[in-house]
């Protein structure tokens, strides 16, 4: 009757090929611009220099005195990362709640208050952009200047940048999960918050938790970097060892990093399993 025959060939093939080509063409100049030269890696002189540098790392330092210092610094780093993530959640969770489009009641129809909703979401997106757009190391430098050396500056810097990242990615995770449940609840008169906990979270909780644990792992690393600018923890210890050209101490500290990442991985796996 009014049915039109589908074409014999895939009508989207050409545009797909075009986009792939465009991506490659766009990437090439970026690679050139970054000055990336793989030949430098296998240059014999460079290899020798790297070798000498690495041999100073062996054997790793195991003096009980240093291990004690390491333990304190590790705990400080863990505390800094955890407190940073906890504060970041205080920023991210309400922002996610505002930002997630599939929780918008006014989008159904669209109904009353749509433009108000869209503009609030726009402002929230902008706030998150500013929070995460400035690197945590810059925030840390600012806070170290304002509040003095110590972990407080690191925690605040983490809270701000990670709040911005978590808020954005949480909203995207929720958006890319199955949103029909939440929509159906909103259409039956449910509130935003209940549509979130009854309709969206059951679908997305695994992803959210594993991303949060991954971000905690990143926060551990970031807090190390911030230690270099005086925000305490493992980073500060690493900074001292490096400045004294003490390779063995640096090696022990690196082992501790690996251990922490391993632990984060394990926590993530356990939580994912529990939430299955």
């Amino acid at each position: 009757m009014n049915s039109v025959l589908a074409p014999e060939r895939d009508p989207h093939a050409l545009s797909r090929a075009g986009w792939t080509l465009a991506a490659v063409v766009a990437l090439w100049p970026l690679l050139v611009l970054s000055g990336f030269n793989p030949a430098l890696l296998v240059d014999p002189q460079n290899l020798k220099a790297m070798g000498t540098f690495l041999t100073t790392f062996l054997p790793p330092e195991t003096a009980p005195e240093f291990l004690g210092l390491l333990l304190t610094a590790t705990l400080e780093t863990l505390a800094m990362a955890t407190a940073g993530i906890a504060l970041a959640l205080l920023i991210a969770v309400p922002m996610t709640f505002v930002l997630t489009q599939s929780l918008s009641i006014s989008r159904i129809g669209p109904g009353p208050g749509r433009w108000r909703g869209e503009s609030i979401r726009g402002v929230a997106r902008l706030i998150l952009l500013v929070l995460r757009g400035i690197p945590e190391i810059v925030w840390a430098l600012v806070f170290v200047r304002a509040l003095g050396l110590g972990a407080t500056a690191g925690v605040l810097a983490l809270a701000i940048t990670y709040g911005g990242m978590l808020g954005k990615v949480y909203a995207e995770i929720l958006e890319s999960s199955d949103t029909r449940g939440a929509r159906a609840l909103l259409e039956a008169g449910s509130s935003r918050s209940m549509a979130l906990v009854y309709g969206l979270l059951p679908n997305a909780i695994q992803e959210l938790v594993s991303y949060t644990v991954y971000r905690w792992e990143c926060a551990v690393r970031a807090s190390v970097v911030m230690g270099f600018v005086g925000a305490g923890g493992l980073g500060q210890l690493m900074d001292q060892s490096m400045k004294m050209l003490n390779g063995s101490e640096s090696a022990t500290i690196l082992f501790m990093f690996l251990l922490l990442v391993l632990i984060a991985d394990w926590i993530s796996a356990v939580l994912r399993k529990l939430l299955q």
């Binding site: 009757m1 009014n2 049915s3 009641i105 006014s106 159904i108 129809g109 669209p110 109904g111 009353p112 208050g113 199955d178 029909r180 449940g181 929509r183 159906a184 609840l185 909103l186 259409e187 039956a188 008169g189 449910s190 509130s191 918050s193 209940m194 549509a195 906990v197 009854y198 309709g199 059951p202 679908n203 909780i205």
Partner: protein, 294 residues
């Protein structure tokens, strides 16, 4: 053809005869989706309180769009929709939410998170009326185990109360979706092919329970059904929808094979039935055994 349809529509039974304000009224409603697809061309329809109506028609005819318009989940591009004597699109946000809590839509594929337990999925039916703290506490400990068990028991599913929904079969999950709307106890029950994943016996049970609930609370029931025999057997009024328009709107006993043949002309040789058994309802006896399309 056109005149005949008009004549049939004016002859159609109108329930209680339009005494009070109708539960659902569509006036010259058209709907174009954002992608440009014209789902509803022009539909006027009136359902009174307590009426029970089946919508039939080929796939893509606009049955789902029609139900979603009534459920205030889609806004008409033209015309006017009135639900429970109010125009939903002129309401303030709070009033619209309260109206939505009074309309329940059973979806063809139940919009229930796979990891949710059946009891939580059913209790979610009352999120529109419960205060927020009750809804929140219900996640820690189910607020109304008895109520959820009652509605699931009506659908022969009480033993699955604490089962996770991803452990249920398609037909069981669909019944959980029905149970949620029964638990919601709305003033309008809308159902979009609510029994498509069930075997004939369970389909009959489910439709029967929907009727019982609608009758007991004197609320409107409007269901789109794929199986024509099921529609004719259970519903006193049948609305045939084709290409976004009402093809006929008649009491079930006046739906004949010619009308059905016209309705499904573009789709199949025979109107679809449960298990593809030949259509053999008393309403159109005499046609049995004769091919509907020659």
């Amino acid at each position: 053809m056109q005149e005949r349809v008009v004549a049939l529509r004016t002859a159609a039974g109108r329930g209680t005869g339009g005494s009070s304000s109708p539960a659902i009224e569509l006036v010259e409603v058209g709907l174009t989706h954002p992608n440009g697809h014209r789902a509803i061309t022009r539909i006027s329809l009136r359902l009174d309180r307590g009426e029970r109506v089946a919508i039939i028609g080929p796939s893509g005819a606009g049955k789902t769009s029609l139900l979603r318009l009534i459920a205030t989940s889609l806004r008409p591009s033209e015309g006017r929709v009135s639900v429970l004597a109010t125009n939903p699109w002129q309401l303030a946000p709070g009033a619209l939410r309260r109206l939505r809590a009074r309309v329940g839509l059973i979806h063809q594929s139940p919009p229930i998170p796979p990891r949710q337990r059946a009891i939580t999925a059913v209790l979610a039916g009352r999120l529109g009326t419960w205060p927020w703290w009750r809804s929140a506490l219900s996640l820690l400990y189910p607020a109304d185990i008895g109520g959820a068990r009652d509605v699931l028991a009506q659908l022969d599913l009480a033993d699955r109360l604490f089962e996770r929904c991803d452990r249920l079969s398609g037909g069981q999950l669909q019944r959980v979706g029905v149970a949620r709307v029964l638990y919601q106890a709305p003033d309008i029950i809308l159902a979009d092919e609510p029994v498509s994943a069930m075997d004939p016996a369970l389909a009959d049970l489910t439709i029967q329970q929907l009727h019982r609930d609608a009758q007991a609370r004197d609320v409107t029931l409007c269901a789109s059904l794929h199986a024509v025999d099921l529609a004719l057997r259970w519903f006193p009024r049948i609305v045939g929808v084709k290409a976004g328009e009402v093809a006929f709107d008649l009491p079930a006993e006046r739906v004949n094979d010619a009308l059905l043949r016209d309705l499904y002309a573009s789709e199949t040789a025979m109107p679809p039935t449960q298990d593809n058994r030949p259509l053999a309802t008393p309403q159109i006896s005499g046609t049995v055994g004769r091919p509907l399309c020659s």
